[in-house]
Amino acid sequence: MNREKVIYAFFIVLALTMNFGFFIGEIDDPAHHNVYEFFAAIVVSMICTVLKFGDRTHLGALMMATSLVADLQLVIAALIWGYGAQLSDVGVTTEMFSSVISMSGGALLANIVSVILLMVETIVVRR
């Protein structure tokens, strides 16, 4: 067992599960989506990106790309939410909230791809 591999896989799967936990629920109902879970999803996603730094293989490049996509989607979602809560006069509208959730849904897809790639790597390179 390789400790480094455990940490690596742990964060990648955690990024997916956090993201899924936040995404699941009615798309326009704030009661179904926890802000702390969202924060945790962003942090874990960023850590994932950093963990993927420096891998020069083709698969490593793909993993990195999926992670960057997830980061991008989540940060945009956070920006929309932050704009609604802090800057907009009308507060977080239903439209805004739906787009936050759909953005996180996009990130979820990217995270799924990332986990699939992780599985492919594990299965192909059996060690």
Partner: protein, 562 residues
């Protein structure tokens, strides 16, 4: 060349993860810890404000407590966060700085800068592997001729020397193993402007792999390789290495020429060496019995060359097993008078001190000179640091392998016609060479004799082509006149003339030039500069031909008609 980027990312993994974790923890703390607003109500900081506060606290320790004054719990958390974030920053920045200072990182940066510089070359250049005595002599000459070069050497010290040597052109150098194709590629092996690769390292195997790499990646490119073994030389020749130099064999050839044809030898010496031997040195008697001390690689090469010309040889070595297959041998080093007497030093004309020990060599020469002052002495120098003693040894020939190869290669690079001439010249007798030598001497006396060639074609000699097209025959003699005053001759003369593959040594000066002719000149370097005026500039050639300035504008032509 993303190496640097990847190394940086890999090194920054831990610091960045620490930074993200500590920042998110601090932010989370501020969101969770209840605060008070200005009316005394319980107030929870939201993520937006928490990130804002942590961001400025982490980098600057803050603009104050916003938006409301903090409670004690919040202050306690701030205290913890301040130390946490500062340590995270110190750690990240420290790791980054440490990375920049690592020698490995510096090497990568230098290599990258080197590769970039070479990639941007847009003029012809030579790739030279090995900056030793040979390499530095060649690069210096190339620089003086305005030809650029690129250097690879395995020792950083020699690359540093490149900077201090005061070359007139900038020569990029890289400290790396030249036997790796990747390194060669960075040094411009596949660059379209690279006109030749010179493998001059001390290691035969490295030279071999450089030559192979070059021949595989760019088959048409000139490759010159140095080697010290016969097997390697044959191997190099098998895949088409253009020029193979063996310091021992080349010097043996050079010396044997001196022994059997002193004037031909001097002509060769003048053409190839920048500092040539004086004319008077040819008067020494060099044909007769020769004594060779030390049958190493040099001694054996010399024996083979001398045997070709039926020179009487006496061989000396202190190792009897070396002498087994030869006749006329004496066992002994040659440093004592007794062994030399035994070898018949009184009747000999020359002695070669060719052992691999400098002190022994000098001792042999000194003892021999005492016994027979008329001897021609040849001494092999192994270490370049012994230069001073050797200079004062008063030996007739000092054999330094590095310099010999440098001169040979330079002769080849100067003009491809020169080696052809040298080959032809050796077929002539010594009287012919004596006449040629007198002619050279009257032009150059003790200055450096340069040689250059011209090819008649519209690109290289536009003036000759234009004038010929007008029906005026340009003679060889016209090229040798001084463009400033046509009654004067330039200090040069033609050595060889080639038309459709037919060679003519010392051609007549009234030969009319045609397209495709190649002429090899020798003379002073200044003559070469002047000659490039007459072959390139129509007006000057017209003046040389007719003695009058051509009228090149309409007004002048009209005035002339009146």
């Amino acid at each position: 060349m993303n190496d640097i980027f990847y190394v940086m990312l890999r090194r920054l993994r831990h610091p960045l993860i620490t930074l993200i974790s500590i920042y998110s923890l601090a932010t989370l703390g501020f969101v969770m810890i209840p605060g008070q607003d200005d009316q005394g109500n319980v107030w929870h900081m939201d993520f937006f404000h928490a990130i804002y506060f942590v961001s400025f606290m982490g980098s600057t320790i803050g603009f104050g407590e916003i938006p409301y004054a903090f409670t004690s719990a919040q202050r306690a958390w701030t205290l913890v966060s301040i130390y946490g974030t500062v340590i995270a920053w110190l750690y990240s920045i420290g790791s980054l700085l440490a990375l920049f200072q690592e020698p490995m990182f510096g090497r990568m940066l230098r290599r990258r800068a080197f590769a970039k510089e070479v990639r941007n070359f847009n003029e012809p250049f030579y790739l030279i592997c090995g900056y030793g005595i040979t390499g530095s002599a060649i690069i210096k000459k190339l620089c003086n001729r305005g030809i650029r070069s690129v250097v690879i050497d395995i020792e950083q010290e020699r690359i540093d020397e490149l900077e201090v040597d005061g070359l007139v052109l900038r020569v990029p150098g890289l400290c790396a193993d030249a036997s790796l194709p990747e390194v060669l590629d960075d040094a411009g092996l596949q660059h379209p402007s690279c006109i030749g690769v010179l493998a001059l390292t001390n290691d035969d195997n490295v030279n071999l792999s450089i030559s192979i790499a070059s021949k595989l990646l760019a088959p048409g490119r000139l490759v010159v390789s140095r080697t010290e073994s016969e097997v390697n030389a044959r191997n190099l020749a098998s895949f088409g290495t253009d020029y193979i130099v063996d310091p021992f064999r080349d010097y043996a050839e050079y010396l044997s020429l001196a022994a059997h044809a002193p004037y031909t030898h001097l002509v060769y010496d003048w053409l190839v060496n920048p500092y040539h031997r004086p004319l008077s040195s040819a008067y020494k008697k060099t044909s007769g019995r020769w004594i060779i001390c030390g049958l190493g690689r040099f001694g054996k090469a010399l024996t083979r060359e001398f045997a070709k010309h039926d020179v009487e040889l006496i061989l000396l070595d202190d190792d009897p097993s070396q002498l087994k297959s030869f006749n006329n041998t004496v066992i002994g080093l040659g440093t004592e008078a007794q062994t030399l007497e035994l070898a018949g030093i009184q009747e000999a004309v020359g002695i070669v001190a060719g052992t691999d020990n400098d002190a022994d060599n000098l001792s042999i020469i000194m003892t021999a000179k005492e016994l027979n002052p008329k001897l021609v002495t040849v001494v092999r120098q192994n270490l370049s640091t012994n230069m001073l003693v050797y200079k004062n040894s008063k030996a007739d020939f000092i054999m330094e392998p590095g310099k010999i190869i440098a001169n040979r290669i330079l002769a080849k690079l100067k003009t491809p016609l020169l080696p052809v001439f040298i080959e032809q010249m050796q077929l002539q007798d010594d009287v012919w060479s004596h006449t040629l030598l007198n002619r050279m001497s009257s032009i150059a006396s003790d200055r450096e004799l340069d040689s250059w060639s011209i090819t008649v074609s519209p690109e290289t000699t536009p003036a000759i082509t234009t004038l010929s097209a007008e029906g005026v025959g340009v003679k060889l003699s016209n090229l040798m006149k001084d463009p400033r005053h046509r009654k004067d001759q330039l200090p040069c003369f033609p050595l060889m003339f080639r038309r459709n593959g037919d060679l003519k040594l010392l051609p007549g000066e009234l030969t009319e030039l045609e397209e495709g002719d190649e002429i090899l000149f020798c003379g002073l370097a200044e003559a070469s500069n002047q000659m490039s005026w007459s072959i390139n500039n129509y007006n000057i050639l017209y003046y040389l031909q007719t003695g009058e300035e051509p009228s090149h504008n309409l007004l002048a032509k009209l005035l002339k008609r009146i």
